[in-house]
């Protein structure tokens, strides 16, 4: 009797599993994972289309998308032209980068009672290990009202490859010195400091090491109540990271001719760091979904287009509660045009 029951219930589960089988499969970046989970849940409630997304990291996301295991990929760092060529070897014609949300990277530190301001040059010298003490004249000059301690600076960075690192080093590479000696990417050869695994590892190292400084995703810094640095932006104002200052940065960046031209050409691999505008926070980046221009499976392709259309319109309103900034309207309109060009 019991055996029969077990067999029956297993059979029932298999049938339910088959009926609601995942229709779209994606994998990639972990940085936008929370918002993708939320979108997939609401989208499947509304349309009955199930979308699976696995947060395996941008590198893995690009690899699985390239060999065609997944229907779409997710990445915080844009694919290079070489990678795109490789992904299109078996058809697909081209790869579109569909931006979904934007995020800010906060600089957190451990100096109780001190409200700190920094600019790009000082940040570069600190993260290169050239400024070793908190009462260094370069820091003191930016913080005339603070009583800085004669403490060692401990630089903390991510040890795992990460989209957060990619956005952070893209900002740092705005300095010629950093660009020449270190460069930008999801993992770099760090000239100084300690490596922590994941946002949790970095936050842990900062909170247990007096005098530490490091970078983390904005939502993480807010949730953990870490003090964050006000960074000097292009307009010379000191701005702390918030959703508003993230949106302001995107709006400011889009005023540049170069970015406007890229957006109009349907290339959304935009560099939003160090954007102009009084209220812009300088370390801001976007995250992308990777889709083929020509969909091999028309049925799946149609569902994918439907999904992309939804996240770029209705879906955007769920971004801010998870501390991501929605895409600015002019970009969104252009992205929707590109989604309309997907051939199914």
């Amino acid at each position: 009797m019991l055996k029969k029951l077990i067999v029956l219930s297993v059979a029932a589960m298999l049938m339910i599993g088959a009926a609601s089988a995942a229709v779209l499969n994606g994998a990639g970046a972990t940085f936008p994972y929370p918002i993708y989970m939320k979108w997939n849940k609401i989208f499947s409630q509304k349309t009955g289309i199930k979308v699976n997304y696995q947060g395996i990291g941008s590198g893995g996301g690009i690899r699985q998308f390239t060999v065609g295991i997944t229907d779409y990929g997710g990445s915080d760092a844009p694919m290079t032209d070489k990678q795109i060529a490789k992904a299109c070897k078996n058809g697909g014609e081209s790869v579109y980068h569909i931006p979904t949300v934007m995020g800010a990277v906060a600089i957190a530190y451990n100096l109780p009672g001190i409200d700190l301001r920094l600019d790009l040059e000082t940040m570069v010298d600190i993260f290169m290990g050239k400024i070793k003490k908190w009462d260094d004249p370069a820091i003191a000059e930016l913080n005339p009202n603070e009583d800085l301690p004669n403490k060692n600076i401990t630089v903390v960075h991510r040890s795992d490859g990460s989209g957060t690192t990619s956005i952070f080093t893209t900002y740092m590479a705005r300095s010629m010195k950093w660009a020449a000696e270190v460069g930008k990417g999801k993992a770099v050869a760090w000239p100084a400091g300690l490596g922590g695994k994941g946002n949790a590892g970095v936050a842990g190292l900062i909170s247990t090491n007096p005098g530490a400084i490091g970078y983390a995703e904005l939502s993480y810094a807010i949730k953990n109540d870490l003090p964050v640095i006000a960074l000097k932006n292009k307009a010379g104002k000191f701005i702390k990271p918030t959703i508003d200052s993230t949106s302001a940065a995107a709006a400011g960046a889009l005023k540049s001719k170069k970015l406007k031209k890229m957006v109009n050409a349907g290339d959304f691999r935009l560099n939003l760091t160090n954007a102009p505008g009084d209220r812009s926070y300088p370390i801001v980046g976007m995250t992308w979904l990777l889709v083929h221009k020509v969909q091999k499976n028309p049925a799946k392709g149609k569902l994918l287009v439907k999904y992309l259309n939804w996240i770029l319109t209705d879906g955007q309103k769920y971004a801010s509660e998870l501390l991501y900034a929605p895409l600015p309207k002019p970009v969104r309109e252009k992205v929707l045009d590109v989604v309309g060009n997907i051939e199914t």
């Binding site: 490859g161 930008k184 300690l194 490596g195 842990g204």
Partner: protein, 291 residues
Amino acid sequence: MKRNIQGDGWFRNFTFFFAASIPLFLLALVIILIDQSRLSFSEFGWGFLFSSAWDPLKDVYGALPFIYGTIVSSLIALLIAVPLGLGCAIYLSEVSQSRFKEYLAVMVELLAAIPSVVYGLWGIFVLGPWLGRLFLGAFSGPSMLTGGVILAIMILPTITAISREVFQSVPNSLRESACALGATKWEGFKLAVFGPAKSGIIGSIILGLGRALGETMAVTMVIGNTPRISPSLFAPAYTIASVIANEFAEAVSDVNLSALIELALVLLVMTIIVNGFARFIVWKTSIRYGR
């Protein structure tokens, strides 16, 4: 009678199949590792083992700081865990008569059941800062030393539990004869128990070392993840298992991926050498004791 013999044949083939699957798994693993690391090997050759460069942006990779970090952190772990673990095992098996020892034995086994990420978090928030203060602020938590101490705690139960079993498997008649010759408890242990147990003790240490070489999560969280060779134990370091765990998911370039897989191969070879060495010692000592 005939049926029985046939049954034996089945039984033999069946178990042989299971036994043969183990070398097959190992072989498959080695083949995949060698195949996937070919790209990195053709790029860097044997120089991979002796180079200290690790830059994913320039696509240059070298294994030396990771090999160094893996070996040194495991040696620190052994230096701490072997005396502690053996001392504890001797107490539990030979010295203590109290009921307390049963609880102690359970606690040792509990140490083995704690997930390594918990050890890692404890290392970040408690052990690291505490060691930093102990050495008067010579370092700030994450370091080679912290990694070694965490590893020592993690391999302690392996060494303790196995060597305790080994001591207990020594027949009581040996202890009794030592007693009858007028040996003290210490002399009796030294003469009658330690000698026969030697190869088993080495086995327990090697098992512990194997765990230390391959441990990933806890070490990653406390060692500082810096690929630089520094003579100071207070400086941050990096191990092979840690760099694989850190970079594998996000490795985009083919050479980066291949270099990580070549590191895995290096780690596998290191463990094989360690195990071979251990076998050799066990073999040598068991010859001496005529077993």
